[in-house]
């Protein structure tokens, strides 16, 4: 089966510092990979490489269609949440419902709390329908209800043949393969 994300001998150097070298990794349909490691070990850089936002110094990366949730909200602050999410398209109503954001639909994005904003970035990923999800610290700011919803969404996504790559210090429930960076 064709992997949704594949790193082949990837080396990443940021600001003159070597983060990792000759990294191979493969994520196929239904697989979830959890990146762990101390601060600054290159988890976010790996996710940005996977997203195609950074160039690898060496090696090649193949990726399928993907969606990314990181610390960037990427929603217009002055718009109501629903309209802001609609800019990126996809099944917005379903995604908002899955993350319990429906009652916040008319609220301007700038008024959202940290946790609500986190749910909104996750809703953008869920709505996209992309087979590969990249989640950088998806638990930051989420309450226990939010974490539960995220775990359910990830499980459903994997069941549909999707794949997830997540970097986080907290544990996300479900079956994850772990990859330790900077060890």
């Amino acid at each position: 089966m064709k992997p949704l994300l594949r790193f082949d001998g990837v080396t990443c150097r940021r600001g003159g510092r070597l983060l990792f070298e000759y990294l191979d990794l493969k994520i196929g349909p239904g697989e979830a990979l959890h990146l762990v490691g101390p601060n600054g070990c290159g988890k976010s850089s790996l996710i940005r490489l996977a997203a195609g936002l950074l160039r690898a110094e060496q090696g090649s990366i193949e990726r399928s269609e993907l969606a990314l949730a990181d610390e960037g909200l990427a929603l217009d602050r002055e718009l109501p949440l629903k309209r802001a999410l609609q800019f990126w398209g996809g099944r917005v109503d379903e995604a908002m419902n899955a993350l319990d954001l429906t009652r916040l639909a008319p609220v301007p994005v700038r008024l959202l709390s940290t946790g609500q904003a986190k749910r909104a970035t996750l809703a953008r990923v869920v709505a996209s329908g992309a087979p590969l999800w990249l989640l950088d610290e998806p638990l930051n700011g989420l309450d226990s209800d939010g974490v539960g919803r995220l775990e359910k969404l990830v499980a459903a996504h994997l069941e549909r043949g999707g794949a997830v790559l997540a970097a986080s210090h907290g544990l996300i429930g479900g079956t994850w393969t772990h990859l330790e960076l900077g060890a």
């Binding site: 940005r48 950074l54 993907l66 990314l68 960037g72 990427a74 929603l75 800019f87």
Partner: protein
Amino acid sequence: MIASLIARDFRRSIGGAAWLPVGFFLVVATLVPFAVGPDPRLLERIASGGLWIAALTAALLPIERLIDPDRANGFLDQLTIHGVSEEAVGGAKVTAHWLTFGPLLLLAALPSSFILGIAPAALGRTMIALAVGTPGLAALAVMVAALTAGLPRAGALAGVLLLPLAVPLLIFGAGATGAEASGALLLEAAVSLLLVAASPFVIGAAIRAART
């Protein structure tokens, strides 16, 4: 996606600070007669230059909100992930910026021309020269905004970058406004076209370089 990006940028600036550069343009144009005195012959000689300096300074005002907010909150990253090339983003940004900046500036040029005592016979030439120059000015503004995005004190740096680069546009633009049939208008159009044509590539490269 490109069309909705242009529509989004247009909506954001027209609903926000689009009137600020125009007001600024009017204020600067108004200051010229106060600074040099009300002598009509002197004013008529320097009017076109005054108008262009007003236009240049007005172009500087919106620079900090053209690219940097979208870079900082991940909007540009998401556009790339959605398959929009950085060059296409650049083209869309220039188009949207001109749509809010150009027509409003032309509108403000009418009262400014009156204040500066531009002869009615020369008014048509003035408007054409400004209309030809504003796309180049808009492209330059977005380029400089992309190059300075994320840097500390980007606003001041943008001024130092933009004003020298605008000199060719200023020379030919003011020339085309002032003298009849001098060929300056064609040269101004050439400079403006060059700036617009180069802008998507400059902006694209700058957006990629600013990624961390």
